[in-house]
Symmetry: C2
Subunit: 441 residues, 2 copies
């Protein structure tokens, strides 16, 4: 068992490819890297021994299945909706499957068949989901082993900028899919706090922030993220009184972003068409009540009573009070906003990104409540070798490497919440400099 | 041509059935009333000459088509999603079709075939849509005939309570589908004001109200309703600078309803399950931020800074600050809220409802801007003979009656925006006491 197939040679695959391509020579493995863009795939492999690139349109079922047939393990770095299709091919052709994406319902329906065929399918083995599960479960399992009770668990993660690249008032640029950033949080967030179920609608989300601190990096805004309640079962914490998972932005980002949310400018539910030549100022005005005399600035201040200067400055920096033209005039409000932001929040070649993750535990011990914070900070090298690509790709690469080395000996459908997975993977991540700093308060 | 088939004998069909059943004897017509509930249908017909009831499960295609085959004109009072199915049957079997619902895309696809077969299909011939179109187009066509230019048209409609039945602080009870009332406004509202396109997201909608006055009835809140922009074309007002269609509630209703919107309690996008025995107070608390000391009332006041006593009193009257148990604990927040309101906002047998509609025109004439307001107020008799059923059912009944009498001689797919339709229908409505009071300001 020594042939690896990676589907997708995009930006987030860089570290994954390097780690596994480097292993081919020493470990006598074969790596096939398949992408629609053959040049890009060849570029990433750099003729390393045992590796080859292959041109693949994933819709070409025959070619796809031929490639999968050649492999022992298949890693899908394709868009999430493709995973069930690839996983179904793997199931039929008897191949092991790896992804960094959420384990879907479609994947769970394959569970019995995966078991029956003795295959190993691993999902959620990237950053978030991935490193979050592994680092949290290590602390949870340790506490449980000591007979301690976890009474509160909050976990936050963010893909942001290294401080020296925070050169705009938002302290933000796109290091990830812009559309996902613009639409972030549109599902009602659910969590539990001190035994009280809490539901946060989208238009309250960016007001419902908590300040999260990282040593030497300062303050971040954390807002609750989707359905934290379902993670009680995933983590074996069914009766925990407080459980919240959230997303991090730089301090002040959420208050300014909330202006767009309040205006309705992140709305993706309908299509509009602004006249050609519409300015950002006019676009903003379309979300403000009509007034015969008040200026756009005055109407905005009236609509958002708690608008402060730091938030105003961020909106202003994007050009919303000027006569700059809309880069896109037809689409949903969210699509028009995204087109504006893609210009102003573009990651520059020399920019370095930053991944921050923090777990906050409150654990009942025989000596009272122990508070643990466990923090990960990871910096990118440049706009290609990002911390995002590293922290998403390395856990998956390591999992595949350990599996092929026989150091992970599991079958069935898994996410990395069991010691047999998280212990060896976290150990290797540590060697690569991806580790958590734990503090007991 | 003298056989009428009415599909659906529900509450909103009462006046429609009476009008057409009464016409059977004098005009030698046959009326078939089909409903799942045969007793209800028989009850409504009261053995009037020429009428008969028929039991019909609309999913029973064979029986449905047999009934349609017997008729010359078919009136669908079924839920809106059924109309295209019934219309397709009518098209195939060569029958004329009438409904009070919106003309759907599916219906428009049938247009060429309707024309080819020389059939008459009429939709949007109820209250809103229906009377609104007819009464507005009369004023619009008159102005155009005089060479005047309509520069502003706002149109509001509401299904409310007669003043003597306004015996709760909301001055509201359900006179129409409760689910539609709870979810009202969840599509982004779009209109144009003084040439400026305006988009209003749901969470701003109930703040963006205009006060609308009716002589002798006092103040109402009007909020913009869905896509007013598309009506520019329907009414032949493509270049109008101001065009808005809206919904009316009693003054003060919107500010209190907005509290539920802000909390996220009208959210229908996810399912929750509250523990058995959860109180309304605890349900409200689930939408408030956690605080170790503040009361539910204090947290609510903090979340909704402009909460005033009239709004607070309305929420309080529903029992949200008490330990009353939730009538339903599993479903979307909107479904749980609806279950509460269905108890407190239930129309009592002696209650009378009220329909209010007002058009506000600004018309450029040779003498300057002329302002016209045209208002309709209609009262129900009791909780069965509602103004809602009367104003929805009579326009449709009259249209069918006129068509069978040969006084409407049209073929093709229509809504009542042309004089050949609105003139005779408005005239008959006037004889039934449904008329507009026009004032020039």
């Amino acid at each position: 068992m020594n042939t690896i197939l990676i589907l997708g040679a995009g930006k987030s695959s860089t570290f994954l490819i390097d780690y596994l391509a480097d292993s081919c020579g020493p470990k006598g493995r074969t790596l096939i890297l398949a992408d629609l863009d053959l040049d890009a795939a060849q570029d990433k492999l750099q003729d390393r021994s045992g590796t080859r690139a292959s041109q693949l349109d994933t819709q070409d079922e025959q070619k796809r299945r031929t490639l999968i047939s050649e492999a022992d393990v298949v890693i899908s770095m394709l868009p999430a909706f493709m995973h069930p299709l690839i996983a179904a091919d793997c199931l039929e052709l008897g191949k092991h499957f790896f992804s960094a994406s959420y384990e879907s319902g479609a994947m769970r329906e394959m569970r019995a068949e995966i078991d029956r065929k003795g295959l190993f399918f691993l999902n959620e083995c990237g950053l978030d989901p991935g490193i979050d599960h592994m680092s949290a479960m290590k602390i949870i399992d340790e506490a449980k082993a000591k007979g301690e009770e976890i009474v509160s668990f909050k976990s936050y993660c963010g893909g942001l900028l290294a401080p020296e690249s925070e050169d705009n008032p938002w302290k933000y640029k796109f290091t990830w899919n812009p559309r996902n950033v613009v639409l972030a949080g549109q599902a009602t967030s659910r969590y539990i706090e001190n035994g009280e179920l809490k539901f946060v609608p989208y238009h309250q989300l960016f007001k419902r922030t908590e300040t999260i601190r990282f040593r030497g990096l300062g303050d971040f805004d954390g807002y609750p993220n989707r359905d934290s309640l379902s993670y009680r079962q995933v983590y074996g914490l069914e009766d925990i009184p407080t459980m919240l998972r959230g997303t991090l932005r730089r301090g002040g980002f959420c208050k300014a972003w909330d202006v767009f949310v309040q205006l309705g400018m992140t709305d993706d539910s309908f299509q509009l068409e602004m006249p050609q030549g519409t300015t950002l100022r006019q676009f903003l005005n379309a979300f403000l009540p009509y007034h015969p005399e008040l200026s756009v600035e005055e109407k905005l201040a009236e609509l958002i009573p708690d608008l402060d200067f730091p938030a105003f400055e961020k909106i202003q920096w994007l050009g919303f009070f000027e006569n700059r033209k809309l880069p896109k005039t037809k689409g949903s409000p969210a699509q028009l906003l995204q087109a504006i932001l893609e210009i102003d929040w573009e990651l520059q070649p020399e920019d370095r990104d930053m991944i921050v993750m923090q777990h906050l535990f409150e654990i009942k011990t025989s000596e009272g409540i122990k508070k643990i914070s466990s923090s990960l900070v990871s910096f990118g090298q440049d706009s290609v070798h990002t911390a995002m690509a590293m922290t998403v790709g390395l856990p998956l690469a390591i999992a595949v490497d350990l599996f092929l080395d026989g150091k992970i000996q599991l079958t069935g459908l898994h996410i990395p919440v069991i010691p047999a997975l998280y212990e060896p993977i976290l150990e290797e991540l540590g060697k690569k400099g991806i580790g958590f700093e734990e503090r007991i308060h």
